[in-house]
Amino acid sequence: MSGLGGLDRPGAPAGPGAWDERRQEWPEAEPHPRESGAGAPGTAAGADELSARVDGVVDGVGESSVSSARVGGAGESSTRVGGADKPCTPAREPTAVGPRPASPRRTGADPVKALMHRHRDLCERAVDPLEIAAGLEAHGVTDRTAARFLHRDVFSLAEEIYARVPRDSEKPPGGPLLTTPRARADWLLLTLLPGALCAAVVTALHLTHGQSRVIAAAAGALAVALALRAALARGPLATTDRTNPTATRTSWLIAYALLGDGLLRAAMTGGPDTLPTGTADGPWPFTTAPVLALTLSCAPAAWCAHLLAVRARRKLSASRGLAEFATSVKPLLLGTFVLYLGALTALLTLTTTALDEPAAYPQTLTLGALLLLARLLTTHGFTHAPALVLTATASAEATALVTLFAARLPGCAWLATPVQALIDTWGPAAVPTLACGAGALTLLLHATRTLTRASAHATRDQPW
């Protein structure tokens, strides 16, 4: 150590030739890396610098560098500090090569402050000293650089910086706004497709007769089903979770809306004697207006879901606590729901007037509400409850039909009594209205509890 201190005095600068002499000695005097560990780099660099300055005492340098590597500990740090401002000096001092004498670098009284200024982004951002250490190292600051700031290593330098960074608490608390989903043309157009197709099919049904009408109905049903599938595959109504597919139950509910009331009425009077003809009149009539309104309402449903998603994200970034978020999202959810119901009512009025069919508000509105809520819940990851409720609703409607037909068996007439009483009191529309209404109410209650949770509106599988 004392040897090092002596050698470190400013002496006659030597040319690069001095390196060579030392290297001859170096390989055998090289410290073993395991032992030297963290100590080796500092001393090796120190030795480099020294040897660049000292010409004659070569052997002494080699030995002293090794001994310092072995000793390590306190001596090592003092070595570093001693050679603190060296790394740039030997490069500037040698007169053999450099054409101009090096001017001393301007350093202020507080070099750490300059460093903090250079890395001010990092310093302001850092949440702990280690982050500053990692960032400094990524910018090339090493322990030897830290020694220039009179620190043992980067960690202690980072600690000083972290302690010195002014942390004003009156920073605006508003963090970066969450990215909100944007309305895009693809799903906007796709949600219009089922309604358009359904309107075309209804027109075709009105214009065709007999065999061609059957073909038109079958092809139309298929086309509308495919269009619905496409419309729900993307946009705000899309779902990634495929654990509980509800397509069958949904199709059954829509089919009931189309055919159910007619069948129920026919079953009451002993029918049906023929298959449906595809018209609104006849023994087993089609009620196309509700279905047309429902398919047309795909677009408002998607818009409402989009609105809910966007507003919920905004509230999410604005609110400070979970409870606050829940209370602010609840009116939003109910408002969206009412908005959709309003749109559906308007569409239904339009279609019944256009098709000149009897108005079927209660059963259509409840069905629409049920389907929207089920879809919203599924989209936000709650698949269990919608699947359950849809199953229950579909089975309730099926049961009503089955009991009417089973009552025709001898001795089973009592089976029809409840449904019969229901229909006698409120008409055949009461069956789907009650079934769907109960389901929709259940889902609404469920949604006000689950969709107001913050976790429901978090995007899965991607970090923010």
Partner: protein, 569 residues
């Protein structure tokens, strides 16, 4: 010996980033049996398949980290309470601040906090093992609520207290991802419970299975970190809000500290990683630096052949990116040209990413500006003294030829981890001039010249010194090659790990109780001879791990293999 090798996103997948050394390790230690437990990072990685595995690999179990199937199991009241307790405890520790906040890890409050963190972590793991469904629970509102409570509790750091709802959600989502290994079914007696030693090939998520195996089955854990995960996390997570970063930094810091505490031995890849590990609470006595191994055979021909390179050529080899500071190299070369007008510079490398490509274009433009084309005589076609080349071209068919083409290899980086290019140059027996960054000094160890970074003049002086002195070049090159062959070869790496395996198993053997058919413990069932090579006891013995806290001894399982350690190899 039966080793469970835990890898994340690397081995044995084809596109793994750190797969190579694992492959060399497994192939190099044919006398041991390996079970590989791999966590895959992406779907693409899984579909691309595995590398061919040597016969000593008994089996491979993989689990995805990129997706997770929610088993849809809802918790009962009791399990939910258990979850809320454990998770609440975990996040309370996180909100109380980072593990390494100034105070040493030995300080009492910090140790208590570390204990709380460990207990909460193992509590969650036990819950996942007993009741399943941890994924759903970690995603649920209950988790977010627990997090909010912890952030608003007294004693939370100011950063945590400022957490808003999106921050809470982000933290919960990140924790869910980070804790996915807790839900794996690897910790049974036919999984990680049956191995003699867990070797985690990186910290962080990959170390979690090792931690749990240590907790459940008392299997010793060896942790190898070539890059410190915690540091990677700090560098990667710069986008989120302060609250998120504070909480996640606390989590990763605590996890690292817990891993370092529980690991029997830790092998950093260089002294830089070692410093970080010591800083994060690793016990100095546990640390054994094991340098990464390089395949020396590729460079043997160049390294041992007499130096036939152009004595005036400097070579730079590497991936072109701003951190390599080629601009400084070009300026240095301008100085070199003043002294040695015949000097040439070859820059061999491909750009990495669009940023690298832009940087390469910039450097080419600068080279053209600094150095006009020059010709030998008035009638010959000239060219630029600085040439930009890529490996695979007609002049440089292989990597070794790149180093062989120059008398001096230059490394001009301002930021560097473990300088692989430098080791390659050393293996080729080249004299080198490098900047003092990263692990350069540690690697070069005096067998090459080292100058400060961002100092073209010093770089130029060192280059000129070497260019003028062929004898010295030769001497330095030979010394560098000798050093590299001793320290940075695959053989060295494999031998080091072999020794470490033996050390761990001899110090902390897994104690297993052998049960007879009736389920009673069999005394002396594992005789001392069981520790000599070969299978002495056959496969009829029944083995159960002892020491797992929640493990009753009345659940015996078949031994997959008795500890057949290698005494003779």
């Amino acid at each position: 010996m039966h080793i469970g090798l835990i890898a994340e996103g690397g081995y044995p997948f084809v596109s793994g980033d750190a797969g190579l050394w694992c492959d060399r390790l497994v192939r190099g230690l044919g006398q041991h049996e390996f079970d590989i437990y791999a966590l895959s990072r992406s779907e693409r990685q899984e579909t691309e398949g595995w590398v061919p595995l040597p016969p000593q690999v008994n089996r491979v179990r993989t689990a995805p980290l990129w997706t997770v199937e929610d088993d849809g199991m809802g918790y009962g009241r009791r399990a939910r309470r258990r979850f809320t307790e454990c998770y609440g405890e975990l996040v309370a520790v996180l909100c109380a601040g980072s593990a390494i906040d100034g105070a040493g890890p030995s300080e009492d409050p910090s140790a208590t906090e570390a204990d709380r963190f460990g207990n909460a972590l193992y509590g969650l793991a036990e819950l996942a093992r007993d009741a399943g469904g941890l994924v759903g629970a970690l995603r649920s509102e209950a988790a977010v609520r627990a997090l909010e409570r912890a952030c608003r509790a007294r004693g939370a750091t100011s950063a945590a207290r400022e957490a808003r709802v999106p921050d809470l959600l982000a933290v919960a989502a990140h924790l869910e991802r980070a804790l996915r290994p807790l839900s794996l079914d690897w910790y049974e007696d036919d999984g990680l419970g049956s191995v003699d030693l867990c070797h985690a090939t990186s910290g962080g998520t990959a170390a979690l299975p090792g931690l749990l195996a240590h907790h459940f089955c008392d299997v010793p854990l060896l942790l190898t970190e070539y890059g410190v995960r915690l540091r990677t996390h700090y560098l990667a997570a710069t986008e989120s809000s302060p609250a998120v970063r504070a909480l996640l930094a606390a989590f990763h810091g605590r996890l690292a500290a817990e891993t370092y505490t529980r690991a029997t031995l830790i092998t950093p890849g260089n002294s830089h990683a070692r410093r970080w590990q010591e800083r994060c609470g690793a016990d100095r006595e546990k640390l054994r630096t094991v340098y990464p191994g390089m395949d020396a055979a590729r460079f043997a021909e160049v390294g041992e052949a007499p130096d036939c390179a152009d004595p005036d050529t400097l070579v730079w080899v590497g991936r072109v990116e701003p951190a390599k500071d080629l601009v400084s190299l070009l300026h240095a070369f301008a100085e070199v040209r003043k002294e040695e007008p015949k000097a040439r510079l070859r820059i061999v490398g491909t750009p990495s990413g669009p940023e690298g490509a832009a940087y390469l274009g910039h450097c080419k433009a600068l080279a053209v500006q600094l150095f006009p084309d020059e010709a030998e005589g008035p009638h010959t076609v000239g060219d630029n003294p600085v040439s930009f080349e890529e490996i695979g071209g007609p002049e440089i068919p292989a990597l070794a030829d790149a180093y062989a083409s120059g008398a001096v290899t230059v490394l001009s980086s301002v930021v560097e981890g473990f300088p692989i290019g430098l080791v390659e140059a050393m293996l080729c027996g080249r004299a080198t001039v490098s900047t003092d960054v990263g692990a350069v000094v540690e690697v070069i160890g005096g067998t090459g010249l080292v100058v400060p970074p961002r100092n073209p003049r010093a770089l130029a002086e060192a280059c000129v010194a070497l260019l003028r002195d062929p004898e010295r070049r030769e001497r330095l090159g030979a010394a560098a090659r000798a050093r590299a062959l001793e320290l940075f070869t695959v053989e060295q790496n494999v031998a080091a790990f072999h020794g470490i395996y033996l050390e761990i198993v001899s110090r902390t053997p897994v104690r297993r109780v052998v049960l007879d058919e009736a389920g009673a413990p069999l005394p002396f069932a594992v005789p001392a001879e069981a520790h000599v090579p070969g299978r002495w006891t056959g496969r009829t013995a029944r083995v159960v791990a002892r020491g797992g806290p929640a493990r009753p001894t009345e659940a015996p399982v078949r031994a997959t293999s008795l500890p057949a350690t290698e005494g003779a190899r």
